[in-house]
Amino acid sequence: MTALISLTNVCKSFGGIVVADHISIDIHGGEILGLIGPNGAGKTSLFNLISGLYPTDSGTISVSGKSLDGLPMYQRARLGVARTWQHMRLFESMSVLENMLVSPRDYPGEKISQIIFGAKQIKAIDQALHERALTILQRMNLTSIAQANVSDITFGQQKLVGLARALMNDGDCLLLDEPMAGVEGNAYDTMKGIVREEAAAGRAICVVEHNVSFIKDLCNSAVFMARGSILERGSVDTLLASKTLADLYFGV
């Protein structure tokens, strides 16, 4: 079985700072891979390289067997790369539902020609998206805030909306950047449940997370990064027992 997300020898540096040093990672459908490591290890940078925020210096990245090299961000999203952001980056002037409606991979509403010549078709698509968005919100127990402005809901809810927006993409690849940072209580359990369901649905999921128990609960395996390189990989328990990791994390 080929991997849904595949990185081969990916390198990237900004001047003298190496954020990715020959990184090779394969993530298969149904797998949840944890990315752990101290701050500045290059975890988020790796997400930025996959989603196309900046180009790689060398190496190749492919998703569902299609190469992403040289493609701009929006085209990668259209190939099924969905990501969340550590600081959510929600559309703050809009409601929860509106945030989700603009987020599917292909959205004819962004094309002027469609707006002018395909008004009827767009209405039907909008209606279908509306239903899809509500189904996702229902799974997260957020239907009651669907019409609320995203800046008026709690932090935990905002984190969930960030994930909900990424799920509208319906792609094979899901990159979650610190989904649990600052999240507790109900939202915590909901988040965990949804990520598990999405993996069970066959998506390849990669999670950057500092919350060790979250990683332990969810991930099949993990990669430990520091200064742009992968130091160790394996099962979460093995990694957590590793001395190198403890040294780097706690700076002995």
């Binding site: 989603s51 196309g52 925020l53 701009p72 961000m73 929006y74 085209q75 999203a77 259209r78 969905a82 990501r83 952001w85 980056r89 929600l90 559309f91 703050e92 002037s93 809009m94 509106e98 945030n99 409606l101 603009v102 987020s103 599917p104 991979r105 292909d106 959205y107 004819p108 509403g109 962004e110 094309k111 002027i112 707006i115 767009i122 909008d126 402005n149 800046s151 008026d152 927006r165 990424a166 509208m168 993409n169």
Partner: protein, 290 residues
């Protein structure tokens, strides 16, 4: 009466200009002040076609709009990759540079302007006809922009303005949307230029200088950036204000610079005390927290 009717022509033209400028700067969040150059391109295209080809006025005005529509890409294609302050600087350069070109070409009439644009409406009701045409076109432009921005496209544009990075990462093509907004706004300015050329039968480069940019910016800021009716109110108000002052019988040496002073003072006052303008944008922006 004739005076009021000619004022109505001007109001129609400026409602088109300020509404289309608002589409670019207020709704699109693209900080360019080069709007008058597209007004100029429309006016010159229409004027030259009317003089040399004698085509139907409707076609000439539409050609003016089309030229402005495509010419906007000369500015937007290279400069929309950058945004914010850089776009502003490039837009000033583009406007002044192109005006210099117009001033030095012989077929555009050079610095002394393009005259002898044929009169297409004869008789005593000439101004009335123009007033009706410009006000009908202005209403159409306001309604088209409103229609475009309610529903899916409006949603897409607010999302882009809120967070362009997250927007692109979701699969939206921000560049294409900016190009489209810029082209549509500029196309409308070109149409306004066409009507202007036919009405005044004379156009000159200095009518499209930075003072014109300042005037349009004032209309949009004072009226309410990002609202549909704001630029309409702004345009009407800022056209009536100088007329009202002219009744005060001030000497020309005071009158001439007074206009610029009024515009800048108004912008400063509004930016401090009512940054949302007279008409605050509906729902979405109003909800935004500081």
């Amino acid at each position: 009466m004739e005076y009021l009717v000619s004022l109505a022509v001007l109001i129609g033209i400026y409602v088109i200009l300020s509404s289309s400028f608002n589409l670019i700067i207020g709704f699109g969040g693209l900080i360019s002040i080069a709007h008058p150059i597209f007004f100029a391109l429309g006016a010159y295209t229409t004027g030259l076609l009317a003089i040399h080809c004698g085509i139907h006025p409707l076609l000439a005005v539409l050609a003016g709009g089309t030229v402005a529509f495509f010419a906007s890409m000369m500015l937007s294609l290279p400069s929309l990759r950058i945004s914010g302050d850089y776009l502003l600087i490039t837009s000033i350069g583009f406007q002044l540079g192109l005006l210099e070109v117009i001033k030095h070409l012989s077929f555009t009439g050079g610095a002394s302007g393009l005259g002898n644009i044929p009169n297409v409406v004869d008789g005593s009701s000439r101004s009335t006809v123009f007033a009706v045409v410009s006000c009908v076109v202005a209403s159409a432009v306001v309604l088209i922009i409103r229609w475009l921005l309610t529903g899916p496209y409006g949603r897409v544009i607010s999302a882009m303005r809120d967070d362009e990075l997250a927007f692109s990462a979701l699969g939206r093509n921000a560049m294409m949307i900016k190009l489209a907004l810029f082209a549509i706004g500029s196309g409308f300015a070109g149409i306004a230029g066409g009507i202007y050329a036919y009405y005044y039968q004379y156009i000159s480069p200095d009518q499209f200088e930075i003072l014109q940019s300042a005037m349009l910016l004032t209309m949009v800021v004072v009226g309410g950036m990002g609202s549909h009716l704001g630029p309409v109110v702004g345009a009407v108000l800022l056209l009536l204000l100088p007329q009202a002052i002219s009744f005060m019988n001030l000497p020309p040496s005071v009158m001439a610079p007074l206009q610029g002073v009024i515009f800048t003072t108004l912008v400063i006052i509004f930016l401090f005390w009512r940054p949302q303008g007279l008409i605050a944008p509906a729902q979405r922006q109003a909800q935004r927290k500081p």
